[in-house]
Structure formats: C-alpha cells, structure tokens
C-alpha cells in the first residue's frame, strides 16, 4: 500500500516548550487513521506541520510523497482540512463562507456541496457570527469535504455536534473510505476513534506511545477475567502464571488481569473446579487510560511507537 502521510523523527519545539518529539507515522491510502491523545499531547502540532502551517525543528514529514516544506500548496490542493480551533468571517453567511472556500480551490461540484449541506442539516443563509458552535462546525465540515479531497485531515471534527449529526458524520467518513480516500482523524474521544477508525496512534507528551489497528489495540491489552469456584479459591495457581496480574479473591470469586493469550488461564481454570467464567474485552478507552495510567505510575519513558 502507498503511504499518504509519512513522518520520520518529526520534532517540533516552541523555544523551551515541547511540541512533538521523534514522531514516526505512516498512514496508508484508504484507511481511517485515528490520532488519539489528551489535550496538549501534540496532535494539533503534528497536523499543523503536515500542512506546513508550522515548520519542523527536525525530522521530516511527507504527504503524498511530497516534503511538506517543499510544496505545501500541491499537498493542500489534495487535502481537506478542519482545524481544531478556527474562526471565519463574521459578516459572511454560511453559504458565502462555503462558496469562498470553493472559489479558493476551484472545481467544486455544486451538487455534492448542496448534498453535504443537506446531510448536515445546515441553514446556510445565516451569518457566520449568528451560528451556534455546532453549526459553525458543520460549515467547517462542508468546507473540508466539498472538493472530495484525497486526504481528509480533521482535528476534533465532532466537537459541538449533536449525536444525530455525529452519526451523519460517521456515515460521511465511511463513504469517503469506500471511495478509497484517506482520513486522518485527530481526537481525544476514544469512542469516536473506535467507531470509525481502522488504525490508531496514541500520542502522549509529544511522543507516540502506540500504533496499531483498533482491533489490535484491544488484543494487545489485558483482559479482565472473573472466575467463580465451587470450592476454595486457588489464588496461588493463577498468581504464578505468566501474563497474569492483579489477582484478587473475593469470596469464591477470583478476579485477575490477563495480558496476552488467555488460553493458559482457561486451561488452568478447567483443571480446577470452576463454575463460572467471565472475560471482558476492554474498550479502547480503558486501554488508553491503562496506557497512560501505567506510564504515569511507572514514571518511565514512552515506548517506541513505529507505525
């Protein structure tokens, strides 16, 4: 597959302040790639480097194989972008705003533009300053999508949207993917990434801590296992097993955290007299919190995260 976005040891510093450090990303064509991280982790900095709004301190970033600092206009011609924080002209109406950006690009299909406005249930006749936050966000989405870009870079795109419009947005993402377009979606809302993304990178304090498929992220993580026994609880048996941690007995129930393959635990339980077995797959949110929580608790550096 072709890498649409590729960064190598991408670093941006703001004087003494951290931006991003040694970020290595590879986003393939046709995938929806989630970029997860808490506020201030470096998501927006990464995106702004990709669009040449800011220049890297070191390392490199390529979009469509083009160095971002070499020909940013050629890149942006093929990109649809929705910033995380933005503003537009108070005096223009929604329709004028959308048309302005269509004019800046050229070649926008009016029918598709109208279709987007209808899908998002936007009233384009009102002045931009009169819009609510959600309606402003809808204008931004139309601006980003209206030219059917090969690559969509969306920074917190669903901020301010109600659940119904968020569903519509998800549908738009899937439609774009069906047309082999690529989406780079930055968010701190894990459920959003979980719903629409194929792969996700987690960034924390400017460094990538993990990159994997959404399913892979779940598989790599620990399962919460609960075993109920008819007789005495064999705590020591499970404590001695590899990949098992946080073993806790409560009455005749034993709870544990299993990292990696779960089969050995199941076999051990079968050899004993267990009456019930519950294994719960963690949500991405739990993985995310677990990842951050563990690193804070360990006080250790970040893991290598190569896409």
């Amino acid at each position: 597959m072709t890498a649409v976005i590729e960064t190598t040891r991408l670093t941006k510093r703001y004087g003494e302040h951290r931006g991003i450090d040694d970020v290595d990303l590879s986003v393939e064509q046709g995938e929806i790639y989630g970029f997860l991280g808490p506020n201030g982790a470096g998501k927006t900095t990464t995106i702004r480097v990709l669009l040449d709004l800011i220049r890297p301190t070191s390392g490199s970033a390529r979009v469509f194989g083009i160095e971002t600092t070499a020909d940013p206009v050629a890149i942006r011609r093929r990109v649809g972008y929705l910033p995380g924080e933005w503003n537009l002209y108070d005096r223009l109406t929604g329709a004028e705003t959308i048309d302005y950006f269509a004019n800046l690009r050229g070649g926008v299909d009016r029918a598709y533009q109208r279709d987007l406005v209808e899908q998002l249930d936007l009233d384009p006749s009102r002045r931009f300053r009169e819009y609510s936050k959600g309606n402003k966000q809808k204008v931004g989405l139309v601006v980003a999508l209206q030219h059917r870009p090969e690559l969509l870079i969306l920074d917190e795109p669903t901020a301010g949207l109600d659940p119904l419009v968020q569903q519509t947005f998800n549908g738009m993402m899937f439609a774009a993917k069906a047309e082999a377009r690529t989406i780079f979606l930055s968010s701190h809302i894990i459920s959003e990434v979980e719903r629409v993304c194929d792969r996700a990178a987690i960034i924390r304090e400017g460094r990538l801590v993990r990159v994997d498929s959404v399913a892979g992220l779940r598989d790599l993580s620990a399962h919460e296992v609960e075993l109920r026994f008819a007789g005495p609880v064999p705590t020591a048996t499970f404590e001695a097993m590899d990949g098992v941690s946080r073993v806790a007995a409560e009455g005749q129930t034993l709870r544990m955290l299993v990292t990696g393959p779960i089969a050995p635990v199941v076999k051990a339980a079968a050899a004993l007299d267990f009456v019930d077995f519950v294994s719960r797959e963690p949500t991405l949110e739990e993985i995310f919190l677990n990842e951050y929580g563990r690193q804070v608790a360990d006080g250790r550096g970040v893991a290598d995260g190569r896409a």
Partner: protein, 572 residues
C-alpha cells in the same frame, strides 16, 4: 501532566498525584487588586503593560519638551519673543491647540503645545480598551464564562470599568509627577516652576477629557459591537477636537462648538495659571453619567453578540472570489466610514475657505508674515488654506484609518481564520500579497472619498479642483506607506503588532512635526518624520523623494509581509 510537571507549574496534584492536593481558600489581596483574584484585578493585570508604556511615553514627551524649551529659549527676552510670535499667528497657524496662554513660562508652553494633544493620544487607548472590556470579551465568548460565575452583571461591568479608571488614574498621576519634576528641574526663569497641585490639575484634565470618547465607546459597544463602538468613540474624539480647534475659522464649526467637550474645558490650564474646575467637574459628571448608562444597559440587555445592524455594503459575489477581494470586502465598510468622514471634513473646510482668506487679506502684517514663511506659494487661496488647515491634521486621521485597516488584516491570523484559508491550496506568500494588497486598495478608496470631498468644496469655491485633488491624494500615499510598515511588522514579527505599530508611527511622526520646528530639533530628527517629506502638495509643491519613499514603504512593506509570513510559523 506528570506529577513533577504539576509541581513545577505550581498546581495542586490530583488524586493520583504524589503530592497532597491543597484547597484554594481564596485569592490573596494582591491577586484581588492586580492579579487573577477578581474581575477588577484581571483588568489591572491585563492593562498594566499598556498603561506603563503610555505613562512612560508621555513622561518622555514632557521631559523632552520642557528641557528643549529651557535650552532653546533660555532668556526672558527669547521667551517673550516666542510668546509674541505665537500669539500673532492666526488660529490656522496655531493648529488645533487653542489660544496660547502664558507660553512665556515653561508650564504655559507645555500646557499649550503638549497637553492640548495628549488627551487625543491617550483617548485612543481609552476607546480601544473600554470598547473591548465587554463587547470584545462577548465576541470571544469569554464573557459567557465569567458572567456564568457567581457575580452580578452590574458588578462585572463596574469592576471592568473601574480597572480602566485606575489604570488611567495611574497614567495621569505619573504625568503629573513627571511634569512637576520637569518644570522644577528645567525651569530657569521666574514663573517656570509650578506647584504640584497645578501639575495634578493639568493631569486631571487629561484624565477626564480622555474618558469622554472611551465612555461613549463603552456605552454603545454592547449594542453595536466593538468595531462600531471604536468608530463612535473616534467620531466623538476627532469631531470634538476639530470643531473646537477650527471653530474660529469655520462658521459651521463655530455654530456647533459648544457641543465639543474640548470647548467646555478649554479654560482649564493650571500649568498656565488658569483653571476652570466647575467646567471640568461638569465634564466629569457627564462622563460618569455615560459610564453609568453603559453599566445599566449592559445589566439589562441580553448577553448576545451584537448582530452589527444593517449590512453597510451590498452583498456581492465579488467579495468571495479570493484573498484579495475578501480582504478588500472585509475592509470596505471601515474604508467607507473613514474616507467619508475625511471627505466631509475636507468639504466643510473647503467650502468655508473663502471667508477665512478674505479675513486674512485684511491684515497686512499677517500677509507679510505668510509671504515670508511661504515665499513661493499663494497662501491666500483656498488651496493655501486647505494645505494649512486640512492636510496637516487629516494626515493623522488618514494614518489612524490605515492602522485600523492593517489591524483588521492582521486579525485573520490572530483570530485563526488563516488556518482555514491556508488549508486551501493557497500559498502563504500569495495570501499575504493578495490580502495585503486588499488593505492598500481600501486605503486608496479612503483617499478617493477624501479627495472627492475636498475637491468638491474647492470647486464650489471656484478653485481648480484637479490641482487640489492631486495634492490631497498625497494623503493616500502617506496612508499606504504607514500601512506598509504595519504589514511588514505583522508579517515578519507577529500580527498583534501590526496595527499598534502604525498607530505609534503616525503619532510619533505627528509629534515630531508638531514640536520639532518650535523646539528646534536637529534636522536629523526632523527628517525621521515622514510628514516632513510630503512637501505642500495642495499648493502644488511636491517632494519627489518623499513620494517615492511612500511608494517604497508601501510596496516594500507588502513584500516583507509576504516574506515574513512565508518564513515563520503562522497562527502561533
């Protein structure tokens, strides 16, 4: 944020942290007064830098003026000669500073030459600050958050206004102290030193007079929005200043002169030995009334961003074609207002010029003096009058108009519109060149309106309108030149500095022009003012070097802006 980072930042750790969380019991007394402990404290904190800079600049001006007068006019005879010369000048030569009173003393001179204009300079700050305390925050959305807290709307507004009053009070106090010390230090003749209460009385005049247009801007801002409020404040300021300054020359102005607040307090010049406390007190009451009306209006009105009323310009597809037309379209309403006001001002002056010229022609001594001053020019003409009465003052309005437009251009970046624009296939350089050109064209439009007004007045007077128009159009070159510097600073350094740079430049040029000749500044300093290089264009005397310099500053500034935006990170 990791625990060590939290500790570094001085924040309390959360439940998972390693350090125990500490409760916030309440702000410290200092935070309440000048920090983040109250709305008032934050107002002081936000405005203290501007207040200190303004106090410093004003203090410097007083020191330079007082010391220079003491050096250049060291003897009583020289002072008397200066006073006689100034008193003999007809009002048009005295500028808009009113009748010279006791200017043979250091205090009288400083009061006349400097304190006549200081309230105008400081009022610009007051207008910008007071128009933004509620309307600016409302537009940003931060007011919703503050008003959502346990604080009444009335208290919120009062605290914000009080913060500005305190800052302005500090500026006035610094001005009083520096003036008193300067007159004590540089005064060499009897009558030069003044009592501190005289300096304080003069500073009180600055304090009150400065607040008038600021209070108007504050009161109307929640209804019309910040931009229009700035316009309303500026209108009150400059209309009052001009009507009072040229009341003796222009019958129309004379008729409406009592409406000018400068006229009301003209008799209050404690540094010159005269005071009119009742008039100043009345003005203070008027200011207080306007501020109270503003607070009450804010308290009663829904907390909504004003819609801005009717569209000033028609909706055209042309405004959304690209960065150039968008920039021009955004600047168009302001350009129309500034240009229209300048044109109207020029029209009024031009249509009353014949009366002034006829009056002047009857005084042979004045004619001979004028001929000595302007040997090659027909000063006893409508054009001559316009050169003296219009050009020299319109230049500051043109400059401030340019600053307003440049600040609007810079807001594309500071208000984060640029991020959306540069998400489209538009290069940074192309955006800067095209949007900057939109600013320059808006200034050209301002100039066209100004030229039309003045030329129409000249034509009514039977003057050759085309010559006058050509001369007045030099104002436009000046406008694009100072705008070019602002664009360059905005592009190379950061957008927040663009408009401020133009304002400072325009005021510095004006002050060098105003004070330089009389204080006998070295030629090298006089040459720093662009105003000195424009010739007397309405009289047909063009300074080729100055005109080329203006063009170079405009186009060079645009190029530098593009180069700067092309090189640096944008939107940070």
């Amino acid at each position: 944020m990791a625990a060590p980072d939290r500790a570094r930042a001085g924040l309390a750790a959360g439940p998972a942290g390693t350090t125990p969380a500490t409760a916030i019991h309440g702000p410290s007394p200092f935070a309440r007064v000048a920090g983040l402990g109250s709305v008032f404290g934050k107002g002081i904190r936000d405005g203290r830098r501007a207040a200190l800079i303004i106090a410093g600049l004003l203090g410097l001006l007083v020191v330079v003026t007082a010391s220079q007068v003491a050096i250049e006019y060291a003897t009583a005879i020289e002072r008397q000669a200066l006073a006689a010369q100034m008193a003999a000048l007809p009002p048009v030569f005295q500028g808009m500073l009113g009748e010279p009173t006791a200017i043979e003393t250091l205090g009288g001179f400083v009061s006349w030459r400097l304190f006549g204009f200081v309230p105008v300079m400081v009022a610009i700050w007051s207008i910008v600050a007071l128009s933004g305390v509620l309307a600016g925050e409302l537009a940003r959305g931060s007011l919703d958050v503050v008003a959502g807290g346990p604080i009444s709307r009335r208290s919120l507004a009062i605290q914000k206004v009080t913060a500005h009053l305190v800052l302005l009070g500090v500026v006035a106090l610094v001005l009083a102290v520096v003036t008193w010390v300067s007159l004590e230090a540089f005064g060499t003749l009897p009558g030069d030193p003044v009592a501190f209460d005289a300096a304080l009385g003069q500073a009180t005049f600055v304090f009150v007079a400065t607040l008038v247009p600021g209070a108007v801007a504050f009161a109307v801002a929640p209804f019309v929005g910040r931009g229009a409020a700035i316009g309303a404040g500026a209108l009150v300021l400059f209309a009052s200043f001009i009507v009072n300054g040229y009341g003796d020359l222009v019958p129309v102005f004379e008729a409406i002169r009592p409406l000018s607040y400068f006229d009301l307090v003209e008799g209050h010049r404690p540094l010159a030995g005269i005071s009119d406390w009742p008039a100043l007190g009345l003005l203070a009451v008027i200011v207080a009334g306007i501020l109270v009306a503003g607070v009450v209006a804010f308290e009663r009105r829904d907390l909504l961003v004003p819609s801005g009323g009717r569209q000033v310009v028609p909706r055209l597809d042309a405004w959304i074609v690209g960065p150039f037309t968008r920039s021009f379209g955004e600047r168009l309403p302001a350009a129309l207002v500034w240009g229209g006001a300048l044109g109207l001002y020029g029209l009024i002056l031009a249509t009353t010029a014949d009366e002034f010229v006829a009056l002047l022609s009857e005084i042979p001594q004045v004619i001979s003096m004028i001929e000595r001053l302007f040997p090659n020019a027909d000063i006893l003409s409508v054009a001559g009058f316009l050169q003296l009465a219009f050009f020299s003052e319109a230049i500051i309005l043109m400059g401030l108009g340019a600053a307003f437009l440049v600040a609007g251009w810079a807001s594309d970046e500071s208000e984060r519109r640029i991020e959306m624009i540069l998400g489209a296939p538009v290069s940074r350089v192309a955006w800067a060149l095209k949007s900057g050109a939109g600013v320059l064209v808006a200034i050209a439009l301002m100039t066209v309106l100004t030229v039309l007004g003045v030329a129409l007045g000249a034509w009514i007077q039977g003057e050759e309108a085309s010559d006058v128009a050509l001369g007045v159009s030099v104002l436009g070159l000046y406008g694009v030149a100072v705008a070019g510097v602002g664009l360059a600073v905005g592009g190379l350094v950061r957008p927040g500095l663009a408009g401020v740079t133009v304002v400072v430049l325009v005021i510095v040029f004006y002050l060098i022009d105003l004070l330089g000749q009389i204080l006998r500044f070295p030629q090298a300093i006089l040459d720093l003012s662009l105003n000195q290089h424009l010739g007397q264009p309405i009289l047909g005397e063009f300074d080729a070097f100055g005109l080329v310099l203006c063009a170079v500053l405009a186009l060079g500034g645009l190029g530098l802006a593009a180069a700067g935006i092309g090189r640096r990170d944008v939107g940070n």
